[in-house]
Symmetry: C2
């Protein structure tokens, strides 16, 4: 199934990219005077094959999973917080749900791999899907986080959830989000392997660990990589050995957006680790990705540089949940409106410069 | 009149700042995990003396003026563009009007000092006020840009327009914007004087001049400063000798916001030059200012550092018109909603970290 998806992901329209660049040059402003908004406008035009792009039908997919490696003491929060926060998402009282409401984005919460036991499905304001690939990953300092089959299934699960929702709600933009206590550790592990960097230059303080725990976190990642020897040229191998279930599912969201030719706004550190997996599977996903923001988490800048993505927002955020990506949707919308609605020099009767 | 205004500008509520910092620590997120959004939230609470700040009633004041110094060849665009763009603003087809619509902000266009001859007042979708202090400034390489009385009147004019509109529309946030061909030159001159920096480290390419013209622009600023000898400790003196009418009026908007205890989002290079004037007149204006964005224009970073303001957006914009400030209102709104609407650990039953 995955191979069929990957084969169907193709570049955006080069024709519309050129038309959009021409249109930008005709708008009543000095050349490219709104900077990144001009760049974003043009990418949207190329993705949607139009000069009037729209990004008004929005959703953020918040995928949750748990991590065996938490038993190594890598997080400042107990693992039960994954379950508590899922409840807060569904009940519409968390930061992501507040920002999603502010940005007119639907919130789709999915438990793809937590250890939570939701005896009865939570009924709240937001969509909640339980589709577990596995009850949390294994501790990757002792064995692979999951099997190759489970890694593939995590991607396919994310793809299916996103595809279904994109189609049923006719979305024209999506954002990614995550929840999973400990998930900066597998994310840093993925990035260390794929970027071929020492974990100390990638791993950050996560939810707020001290220096000593950070050193432990770096060592945990090193041990996991040494034990499992993930092949950096095989994204599924990396995901299965040192990754996470929600990370695979987020990679699936990115694949679904690219497959449907709609923009996908990648959130911070965890989502960008997923983007590394998606990009490794299909370089063409790059045409559809926007980097929502630059996280405070150490290695995020390097990861975005590797992906050749410029972050839209730089607000020193480090929360995850899709918060940065969802807020960035408004900037992307501004860019869509600039190219669609600003008059041209000839329409407005404004004199051109030199 | 100006002195009475300045005496009435007082600090924000330290009590509510402290309450807000406490509230932030109780929200269901790792400590200060939304970074600048937390900082903005707290500043809003302190300004509005509440823990539920609101920034939903918005306007951007776009003030226009012309500049005698344009005859020295400092701009890539002809001076007539000031008039053409005023028309575009009123007719709702310019970048600022598109972004104001996207951000639910009213647009108030005021000609406070252009050389345009609007025989009949333009009737368009947006509010248009003609209240000219002077028909453009003088060429400051030959004489002061305006008299001390005119400089004071420019500030008072901006103050009055803003105050009236803030009160009649019950605004809870305002943004500043500018239009005036050539106005990066007086703005750079103001900043060079107040920051005591060489104009070459402040002046930028404006609407897009080449290296040769940029060198000329730097020399023009140097000559203006040498001839007029503005006193850096006397903001009115600086404004009158090397400033601009719309720059003075924008300083008036900032004073009006501080006077009414509502936040004011300062746009890019020109508006920040106005902020230097307002701040010079009353240090307490700082409590009410937000820096909307970091402009591409050279010295903007230094100016913001001088004012100790962190720019909210960094999108390589350099258009002016209030575009960066208006777009930043959405981020400020996000911050208001985070502190107002996100649940606390105890409300949500979420476990705290270490």
């Amino acid at each position: 199934m995955l191979n069929r998806i990957l084969d169907s992901i193709t570049p955006y329209s080069d024709e519309y990219l050129k038309k959009a660049i021409q249109r930008t040059s005709e708008l009543i402003m000095p050349p490219r005077a709104v900077g990144m908004l001009n760049d974003i406008s043009e990418k949207l035009c190329a993705i949607q094959s139009t000069l009037k792009p729209e990004v008004d039908k929005r959703a953020v997919f918040v995928f949750a999973g748990d991590h065996g490696v938490v038993e190594e003491g890598v997080s400042a929060f107990p693992a039960v917080v994954t379950c508590e926060m899922i409840r807060a998402f569904v009940n519409d009282i968390a930061t992501i749900t507040v920002l999603a409401r502010q940005n007119n984005a639907k919130v789709v919460v999915a438990d793809v791999g937590s250890r939570c036991d939701f005896k009865e499905k939570i009924i709240g304001k937001n969509e909640f899907i339980i589709k577990k690939v596995k009850n949390g990953t294994e501790n990757f300092t002792k064995q692979p986080a999951m099997s190759r089959q489970e890694a593939e299934k995590s991607i396919e699960t994310g793809f299916e959830i996103a595809l279904k929702y994109i189609e049923s709600h006719n979305l024209n933009i999506v954002a990614t989000g995550d929840m999973g206590i400990g998930n900066t550790t597998p994310s840093a592990a993925i990035a260390s392997v794929i970027l071929d960097k020492d974990p100390s230059s990638i791993a950050g303080k996560g939810t707020g660990i001290d220096e000593k725990r950070w050193q432990n976190k770096v060592n945990v990642i090193k041990r996991g990589i040494e034990l499992n020897k993930p092949d950096k040229n095989d994204p599924i191998d990396v995901l299965s050995k040192v990754g996470g279930i929600e990370i695979g599912a987020i990679a699936g969201v990115i694949l679904a957006a690219a497959y449907k030719k709609i923009p996908v706004v990648v959130d911070g550190f965890i989502s960008t680790a997923a983007a590394l997996i998606a990009y490794g599977l299909s370089k063409n996903t790059h045409y559809y990705m926007f980097a929502g923001h630059l996280s405070e988490e150490n290695g995020h800048k390097l990861m975005l540089e590797y992906l050749n993505l410029k972050p839209i927002l730089k607000l020193n955020m480090r929360l995850g949940e899709g918060t940065g990506a969802t807020l960035a949707m408004h900037i992307i919308d501004a860019a869509a409106k600039v190219i669609s609605e600003v008059a041209t020099f000839s329409q407005a009767g404004v004199s051109k410069g030199e």
